[in-house]
Each structure stands twice: as structure tokens, then as C-alpha cells.
């Protein structure tokens, strides 16, 4: 069953965006002067790739099968290895080029980006079967905000680049990791969601379908 659930994943999207991230990150490694600009773009793409891991075109059927959302999400989480491996590859290439980055903080930023994309997808999956596109777009807009708008960069940093002000990226990503863990747990539990998250009729109806527990 694990193989079936994994096979149904949006692999072209996850692999395609991860590939684009590797290209962007590769340019960052090749041109060290541009690394602090291109690596955040690479990580943002990886977060967007993670947002596609829960896409399920056949959700109307799959959501009423005996396999619960926790199990399905656990299996689909394996797909996160693709963006994480792509990010690790980029970081290895960057290290091989001799760039002096704070590797611990950079690794944390990579993990935080990927988990943020996945957590947002988990929350959106309670409303729609294919959250990837919408969540991916939203994640891109949020994560690119410090790069696009310098005022935001003064308050918060999403990449451990030296010399910037605001909250350090470590603080940001540890907080994000904690919030993501809670969001994933809550969305998988299917309860205690804010009222605005459970107002879509089809979502309510789907959750109330009787399910058969496996023996």
C-alpha cells in the first residue's frame, strides 16, 4: 500500500520544482557573489516543491478509504526526501566551492523551508485535494517577502546572510519548526481547526463519511 500511495503522488511537480531549485542553487554555488541571493530562491523553490507532496487528484475517492489521513500523510512525507536531497546537494556543491556559510544555520533554514511548505500543504489538504498550487504560490510570496521588500528584511531574516538586521534566521526557523509541528498535528487530527478552516461544505461532508477500520 505504501508503494501505491507514493506512486499516486505529484512526482513530476515535486521533482520538476526540485530540479529548478538545483539549477538556481547550482548557479549560487558557481557564482559565490550571488550565493546569498540565489540560495534563498533555491530554498523557496524547495518549499514550494514540498507543498506539492500531498496533492491527490483522486481525493474524493482516496479520502474515504480505510487508510486514514495520518497514515497517508506519513507515507507522502517520504516524498519530502526529494526536496531535502536537492537542497543537500546544493549545499554540498556550495561547500565544495569553498563558500564560508554558517552551515548549521543554513541547514536549519533548508529544513525549515521544506517543513513550512509541507505543513501549509497539510493544513490546506483539509480543504482541498490538491493544495500544491495555491499553497506553493502563497509560500513563495511569504518566503520571498524579505528579498522583494527591504522593509521586511529589516524585521526578519529567512536566510543566514551576514550583515542584515532584524530577527536572526535561527530564531525564525526554530519558531517556524515548532509552529509547523503543531499545525501538522492539528490538521491531521482533523479537529480543533479554526472555524474558517472547516466551513467548506465538501470538506465537512468528506470528513463525516463512515470509514471502515482495517481488521
Amino acid at each position: 500500500m505504501t508503494g501505491t500511495v507514493l506512486r499516486a503522488g505529484a512526482w513530476p511537480a515535486v521533482a520538476g520544482i526540485s530540479g529548478a531549485a538545483v539549477v538556481v542553487g547550482g548557479f549560487g554555488a558557481a557564482f559565490p557573489a550571488a550565493a546569498t541571493v540565489l540560495l534563498p530562491v533555491c530554498f523557496t523553490l524547495l518549499a514550494a516543491a514540498a507543498a506539492f507532496t500531498l496533492d491527490e487528484p483522486a481525493s474524493l475517492v482516496v479520502d474515504v478509504t480505510p487508510t486514514g489521513p495520518v497514515r497517508r500523510t506519513q507515507i507522502r512525507a517520504v516524498a519530502l526526501l526529494a526536496p531535502l536531497a536537492a537542497g543537500a546537494l546544493v549545499l554540498l556543491a556550495t561547500a565544495a566551492r569553498g563558500l564560508a556559510l554558517p552551515w548549521g544555520a543554513t541547514g536549519l533554514a533548508l529544513a525549515g523551508n521544506v517543513l513550512l511548505g509541507f505543513a501549509a500543504a497539510c493544513v490546506a489538504r483539509t480543504r482541498t485535494g490538491e493544495p500544491g498550487a495555491v499553497v506553493g504560490t502563497a509560500i513563495v510570496l511569504v518566503l520571498m517577502a524579505p528579498a522583494l521588500e527591504p522593509h521586511v528584511a529589516r524585521w526578519v531574516r529567512t536566510f543566514p546572510a551576514p550583515g542584515a538586521g532584524g530577527l536572526s534566521s535561527d530564531t525564525v526557523w526554530w519558531t517556524v519548526l515548532a509552529v509547523c509541528a503543531v499545525a501538522i498535528a492539528v490538521s491531521l487530527g482533523g479537529r480543533s481547526l479554526p472555524s474558517w478552516m472547516s466551513t467548506v461544505p465538501i470538506s465537512r461532508r468528506r470528513r463525516s463519511y463512515p470509514t471502515v477500520q482495517p481488521p
Partner: protein, 293 residues
Amino acid sequence: MTATLTSGPPATSPGRATFTALAIRETRRLVLNPVFLFAVAFITFALWAGPDAGQTEIDTANPYPAIFLGGFGMMATFWLTRSMRASEPVVGVTPVTQPVRTAALCAVAIVPFACGCLAILRFVQLIPVSSPLYGPFSPSARVAVLVGQIVIPALGGPLLGVALGRWVQFPGAAFVLFLLIYGWVSLVTILTMSHASSALVAVLRLFAPFAFFTYTGDTHSAGFAVTAWRGSPWFFIGWQLALCAIAVLVALLRGAEGRVRTRIIRALAIAGAAALILLVLAALGGFTYPLTA
């Protein structure tokens, strides 16, 4: 009697009326799109607040309209185009052909274009063209730099979104392309900082829908000053307009049949050749070496 019958206003052709109705409908959808609304709100705020006190360069504020009206506009029109995909089996049997519907979608770009025009007017009010922040460019070239950085991207981004929406199935294509263009422009700009005299780097910098033409910083010899990079801002506008034409033609090509398709392909070849020539002229024209004011 005949004179009485023919003296009234000429009747509007049904095809034109349909196109106008479609264009108005699509425009209404665009202006209600949350991504586009956010972009307009942000631009309004940024231009209303004005530049920071003591700002020493125009390049910190210049990219906003390109990013928000162009980039976010691209995402908005991409969604707008894709949103009709589900209803294609129904819409496809109506008398209106897909190229006409695509043309109506392209017509919505007039809204971000108008926003870009307003943005440049406000920008010139905040930083007059006579300001030394523009570097050693002539007054007309300064206007060309601003038009190429503010107005044309606001037109081209949404057109690109329509073309992308017509041809690409992947729903995340718009944000991936946005990030790739952002990464590319950043990379070639950073490369130019260290290789300002290189002709190849100048071509690479201008091989984008948006390009910087000045750099403000410590030049060692002249101290803190504005340096104008290689390239002609006027020919760059021509390159950008050729890209806009290519985007429209590529969008129209989807669903075109018969003679219309042949004409579009021929026009696409001409626009492609024109774009190539204009890119070369943009790289070779203007200052042929970096000039510090």
C-alpha cells in the same frame, strides 16, 4: 429615404462586440483577483510613502512595479487563464474561437499597464528626472530607463502569464517562472558589478525582461558615485516590446487553425528576429563602457 437609412452611426460588428464584452468581463475578473489587488495595494503604499530619507540610488525603488505589477500580474493572469480550463468543454463549443478568447485575456494587461503609467508619474514626482541619482544618462535616456523598468514590465508580465496559462499544464508554473526570472536578473546584475566592461555580461544582463542600468556605490576612483552601465535604454525598450509581442502571439497560437495559425507563426518569426536584433542593439548601443557621473 436611402440617406435617412445610412446616416446613423455605423453598426458595431458582432465579433467586435463579443470581444469587447469578453475583454470587459476578464478585466473585471483581474481587478478582483486577490494577488493583483495585493500588488496594486503594495505599489500604492510604496509610492505614497516615497523613498527613504537620504536615499542615494533609484535602484532600490525601481524594481517594485516590475516585481509587483509585472511578476504578481503574471501570476494573476496565469490563474485567470487557467481558471477557464475546467470549463473548456463547454466554452469550446461556443461560436467564439479560442484565439478571440485569448485576445480578450491579453486585453486585461491594459490595467497593470495603466497602473505602471501612474507609477512612473508618481516616481518622477518623487525623484525628478533632473536628479543626479540617475547618473550620467541624458534626460531622454533617463525617461527610457524608467519606462523600461516600470511601465513595460507591468505590461509584459501579465501577457506572459496569459501565454503560460494557455500552454503549460503545471499549476505552479507562474511562481516557478517568477523565481527563475528573479534569480536570473539578480545573478546577471551581481555579475555586472564585477565585470561592468564585459560585452558578454552586458548581453546577459539585458537578456531579461527587466534590467538595471545604474549602480551606486564606492567606485574607489570617484568615491561614492552613480555608474551607468553599458547598454542603450531605448533599444532595451524595443527588446521588451518585442518580448511582449512574442508573448501575445504565443498565447494566440493556442487553438488557432488554418490561415490564422499560419499568420501567427509568420508574425512570431518576425517578432523573434526583431527581438534578437533589438537585444544586440541594446547591448551595443548607449554607453560602450561603464561611465561614472
